[in-house]
């Protein structure tokens, strides 16, 4: 009897009603309506991560739909070993990577286009944001994704490491290398950008 009481004493995980875990528990218990609450909380963040990762608005919502369908399917097997967001963002980044991989493969079979010279000449009216965005877009995925997660979404190195399933040192190194690469790209526009 005492043992049972002890177990009961150990069990309580005090979760507020707005906590992700409690919502997930209710979902697992059969209350599938709470999924819309989870969706409401995280959809914009997910959509933005997709947007900055792809550097493009095309297909953002399609990928976001895929992300949440996957979450809905596997939410009942969620093991509460990490934060829900870590799991959610990992799924998001993986979906983005899949999308980019498919896009790269498709581009092999597409006829070559005359790429617009992004940074060669800049008019006075040129939007600095646009220039920087294009510069970021030219970075390789493995450098760009940690950088944007850090600078645009404010992820910590640890969060980026968890999301991308790599070491924290790797994240630090990749962010540094991304910045070095950006500096080189933007060097000709040093004056305009007041770097």
């Amino acid at each position: 009897m005492e043992h049972e009481q002890n177990e009961n004493m150990q069990q309580p995980i005090i979760l507020s009603l707005d906590d992700d875990f409690s919502l997930i528990k209710r979902f697992i218990d059969g209350d599938e309506l709470v999924f819309s609450e989870l969706l409401k909380r995280h959809k914009e963040k997910v959509r933005n991560i997709i947007y900055i990762t792809l550097s493009n608005t095309d297909g953002v919502d399609d990928i976001a739909q895929e992300v949440f369908i996957t979450v809905y399917r596997h939410l009942k097997s969620f093991r509460f070993e990490s934060q829900f967001t870590t799991w959610l963002y990992r799924i998001t980044i993986n979906k983005c990577k899949d999308h980019l991989r498919k896009k790269n493969i498709r581009s092999i079979f597409l006829p070559l286009k005359d790429e617009e010279p992004v940074f060669e000449s800049i008019n006075e009216d040129t939007d600095i944001k646009h220039i920087v965005r294009n510069a970021i877009a030219t970075l390789p995925d493995k450098l760009r994704i940690p950088l944007v997660l850090k600078d645009l979404e404010g992820f910590s190195y640890q969060e980026i490491a968890d999301t991308m399933e790599c070491e924290i040192g790797t994240v630090k190194s990749r962010i540094f290398r991304a910045r070095e690469a950006l500096k080189k790209i933007l060097k000709p526009l040093e004056k305009e950008l007041m770097l």
Partner: protein, 519 residues
């Protein structure tokens, strides 16, 4: 340079606020003392500011949730539907495939059924043998068959083939257990009642015996417990009866008329020959097969001549069987119904009606009989004494006539012919005349049933035994004769010698001598 690179990497992390306090303190000291690091820090901060400001937040998607739930519903629906339709769709595919096969090969099922049927029929047709050989059919049995419509199917007389008429007058046959105990020696009584002499008895025997093979070929059996019965067996029975009665009438007309006093039927050779021809004109290649699982009619030709070639071998086997006192198999029928054949064999069911029970089969026959008038004889036991007394003082007068052969090889026997009598009609059915009498006789017969076995086998053995006795007696007689001859010789020699005279001896020997001469 490497040192610088490491420091700059630390600076990057410093800008991001990701250094440990120790690392932070360390790099801050380095920044203070290095202009290069200070410049680098400024650039990194400016770059971070640019990148952070480079991307605006993406505008909200108002229909995102609606679209998502629509997708989720569609997905779950399609999943459920797919599962639901898997068994039905597979069934549909199989059905369509079967329809396609049957469209291009419409007779497939019929062929399969026919093939199986022919296999089954072939199976039951194998090794068919005349059952009645196995039953050691005697003239007595054939006579009983002709008169009382019963044939024993096995040695022990446990099962019989019974022909009869149902209430509507339709003919049927039954295979059933023999309930009644047969009266013995009906043929002998019949012959005695008609007061036949030895020659006539032989002729009657030859007439009856001539049908033995024919009857045998009509009931066939095999190892598969199948019994094949030729419907012609009814006609054959009537033919035998008519033949016997025709002979009886011609050879002992007065006694015969007393036995069947009211008969208006004439059994002359012409009508008998006509019936023979009619019976032979009937299709005799169709047998009714009674098997353990079905009853069917099938064409089957039984080659009697070929069978007779193997007869010797078979009789040897039978002798062995009878030595071992082996009981021939019993026929048991377990048949559910014969309905399945009704559709396919409408004519068959019109001709035959089959009734099946666990221990007997009854097959009714319609439209399969030759119009031979039916004659039933009275019970011989009941009238034997009367006939005997009546015939004591009456001698039948038979006009002498040359013997004549009727029919072909199958019915090869001789009998004397007389001119057909003119009175009466030739096509009167005697059934109505004899019906009342038959009923009475049947009652009497059942009452008189006693536990007596008719055993024709014993008769034949006894006959053989008599023969051997005669032989034995002859041998003894020969010996005695030899002894007598020797004594006579001695007596003659003694007679020449007067000293050895003895009157008594002479008398005795002379009497013996007479005996010898007589012999």
């Amino acid at each position: 340079m490497r040192k610088n690179k490491t420091d700059i990497e630390l600076l990057s992390a410093y800008v991001d606020g990701e250094l440990s306090p120790a690392e932070k303190k360390n790099i801050e000291e380095k920044i203070k003392s290095s202009l290069e690091l200070q410049k680098e820090l400024t650039d990194l901060k400016k770059l971070k500011e640019l990148t952070s400001a480079s991307v605006d937040r993406i505008s909200e998607s108002p229909f995102f949730e609606t679209r998502l739930f629509a997708n989720l519903n569609a997905e779950s629906k399609s999943k459920i539907n797919l599962k639901k339709w898997i068994p039905i769709s597979s069934l549909t595919i199989v059905t369509l495939a079967l329809m396609a096969v049957l469209k291009f090969n419409p007779n497939l099922l019929d062929n399969i059924i026919k093939e199986q049927e022919s296999n089954l029929v072939g199976f039951y047709k194998e090794n068919l043998q005349p059952l009645l050989y196995a039953a050691n059919l005697t003239n007595e049995d054939i006579f009983n068959f002709a008169v009382y419509q019963e044939l024993p199917l096995d040695n022990t007389n446990n099962q019989i083939l019974k022909l009869g008429y149902d209430t509507k007058g339709a003919e049927y046959f039954e295979i059933k257990k023999a309930n009644e105990i047969k009266e013995p020696d009906n043929l002998r009584k019949f012959v005695a009642a008609l007061d036949f002499d030895e020659d006539e008895i032989k002729k009657v025997d030859s007439i009856i015996g001539s049908y033995s093979n024919q009857i045998s070929a009509l009931v066939l059996v095999n190892d598969q417990n199948a019994v094949a019965i030729n419907p012609n067996i009814w006609n054959t029975r009537k033919l035998i009866l008519a033949d016997i009665l025709a002979f009886a009438e011609k050879h002992a007309s007065s006694n015969f008329n007393k036995m069947i006093p009211n008969q208006t039927m004439q059994f002359d050779d012409r009508s008998v020959a006509k019936w023979v021809n009619e019976a032979k004109a009937m299709k005799d290649n169709q047998y009714i097969f009674c098997t353990s699982d079905s009853i069917f009619k099938e064409d089957f030709v039984f080659d009697m001549t070929e069978y007779e070639k193997n007869l010797e071998k078979m009789t040897d086997n039978l002798a062995e069987l009878s030595e071992q006192k082996a009981i021939l198999r019993e026929y048991r029928f377990k048949v559910d119904s014969s309905n399945s054949r009704k559709k396919r064999n409408a004519d068959w069911t019109q001709q035959f009606q089959v009734f099946v029970d666990t221990n007997f089969i009854k097959v009714s026959v319609q439209n399969f009989i030759v119009d031979i008038p039916e004659i039933d004889l009275p019970n011989f036991d009941s009238i034997a004494i009367v006939i005997h007394e009546a015939t004591q003082n009456v001698r039948s007068v038979r006009p002498p006539a040359p013997p004549m052969t009727v029919g072909n090889n199958s019915y090869n026997y001789e009998y004397n012919t007389v001119a057909p009598r003119k009175k009466g009609r030739t096509d009167v059915n005697l059934d109505s005349l004899m019906q009342i009498k038959n009923k009475q006789n049947n009652k009497i017969r059942i009452e008189q049933n006693e536990n007596i076995k008719s055993d024709s086998q014993n008769n034949s053995i006894q006959f053989f035994y008599n023969d051997s006795l005669i032989l034995m007696h002859n041998q003894e007689l020969k010996k005695e004769m030899d002894n007598l001859r020797k004594e006579l010789q001695r007596f003659r020699e003694n007679f020449k010698d007067p000293q050895l005279k003895n009157n008594d001896t002479i008398k005795k020997d002379s009497s013996n001598d007479v005996d010898i001469i007589e012999i």
